[in-house]
Amino acid sequence: MSQIGKYFIFLGSLFRNREKLSVYLKLVLDECISIGVNSVFIVAIVSTFIGAVTCVQTAFNLVSPLIPMYIISVIVRDSTILELAPTITSVVLSGKVGSNIAGQLGTMRITEQIDALEVMGINSTSYLVLPKVIAAMLMFPLLVILAGFLSILGGYLAGTLSGIISPDDYVYGLRSDFNSFSVTFALIKSVVFAFLISSISSFQGYFTSGGALEVGQSSTTAVTKSCISVLIADYLLAQLLL
């Protein structure tokens, strides 16, 4: 419980004694590149294959001749937008981005760089963590949109190239009974997940003490806690919003 209290105090300190706006603008842009642009490749690979696998496995399970083939792409679409794109992307990013953030801040802590900021009179949490949180909340929705698009495209390629479903059926299924709130829901999830991953990883890294071994442990803990928090938040959001 004390850790949770410490986490909320840490979040509160992000907004105290802030620096000039121009400072944050540059830092947020840098972090957008680090968190967003540098994650495009892994997100693209994971989401394309997840879409392809979802399509093939759904077709494998559709054994009744009474069920039309376009249901495959309906399932690919809904599972992608509602769950796979936001959640799986966030779990993957909690590994990549979370460990990076925790490792970076942990190293800065043990090499006294954070202490150096503090004694200069700079709020180190606000300077180091706030840009990461803002950048993650800006970039995660974009990555989730990309993941959703590529996942559906992956399903289309796997389905049509292997002859499981015709292109017309696939596109018909995608447009059938589409509920646009699914997209809103996915974007809300991505923003919440971005906040959780970036803040929890920063918290773990910021309070690292010791040496190189502890930096590694902080990174591992950051990834574990981020993943668990994403899955809990996923359930709670589904209960609240659907």
Partner: protein, 264 residues
């Protein structure tokens, strides 16, 4: 530029640091058991003692990285511990700190590291900031190293960059945490001399944590000896070797060369 800086530092009545009855414990382990002292402007004051005697904890209490359990740290009469956030920030911006590992930012060049406090805390133009940072780098003898990354320079150079960054904001108080750790004796002496010169030149109140005997003999204008969290002795380098404190004598004469010299 140097004259302008010196003119800012003329008033010797300010820049005094006083610590009163500083106590700190971690759990049941008492680290500082009521340490008091005064550090005057223009003096290079040394806090010495063996490993684990509380030197670094005392320094961290003084610069606000650790909150003491009891006691006061006064900067020109302003209580740093009890100060609100704004006053603490104001006092912190009057400090320069050289950390044990230099604490340079890995992702910035040497020049950017030195300019960083100016970038963050002043409204100076880029040309003015760069001129000031280059002046400080030249003052520590690294005028040509501005474009290099911290990973490309030696330990001694990192310490010099750390000193340049510490003085770039024209601080009233300079704190150095073991400035000689990991350096060869010759480089150590150069760093000590540089700290002493800068202290004198800009009339800074300098506090150095060290257990290096050369430093004590070279620049110790005022020395405070800590032992198991207590201040056991205070004086200067001229009477350091003549104390009747057994713990201090044991600490000083741990060095074989000094022991033999004293016996002769």
């Amino acid at each position: 530029m140097a004259e302008a800086l010196q003119s800012l530092c003329k008033d010797k009545n300010i820049r005094m640091i006083e610590i009163k009855n500083i106590k700190k414990a971690f759990g049941d382990r008492e680290i500082l058991a009521g340490v008091s002292g005064t550090f005057k402007p223009g003096d290079t004051s040394l806090i010495i003692g063996g490993s684990g005697t509380g030197k670094s904890v005392l320094l961290k209490c003084m610069i606000g990285l650790i909150k003491p359990d009891e006691g006061e740290v006064l900067y020109d009469g302003r209580d740093f511990i009890k100060a609100d956030d704004d006053l603490q920030t104001e006092i912190r911006r009057e400090m320069g700190v050289l950390f044990q590992g230099s604490a340079l930012f890995d992702s910035k060049t040497v020049l950017e590291n030195v300019r960083f406090p100016l970038d963050m805390l002043t409204d100076m133009s880029m040309a003015e900031k760069t001129e000031r940072a280059e002046f400080c780098l030249q003052r520590v003898g690294l005028g040509e190293a501005g474009d290099r990354m911290p990973s490309e320079i030696s330990g001694g150079m990192k310490k010099r960059v750390g000193i340049a960054r510490a003085i770039v904001m024209n601080p009233k108080y300079l704190f150095c945490d073991e400035p000689n750790s990991g350096l060869d004796p010759l480089t150590s002496i150069k760093i000590d001399q540089l700290i002493s010169e800068i202290t004198d030149e800009f009339q800074i109140t300098t506090v150095v944590i060290t257990h290096d005997m050369n430093s004590m003999l070279e620049i110790g204008e005022k020395i405070m000896f800590l032992y198991q969290g207590h201040k056991l002795w205070e004086g200067d380098n001229s009477n350091l070797t003549q104390s009747n404190v057994p713990e201090l004598n044991e600490f000083i004469y741990a060095n074989k060369l000094l022991r033999e010299t004293e016996q002769q």
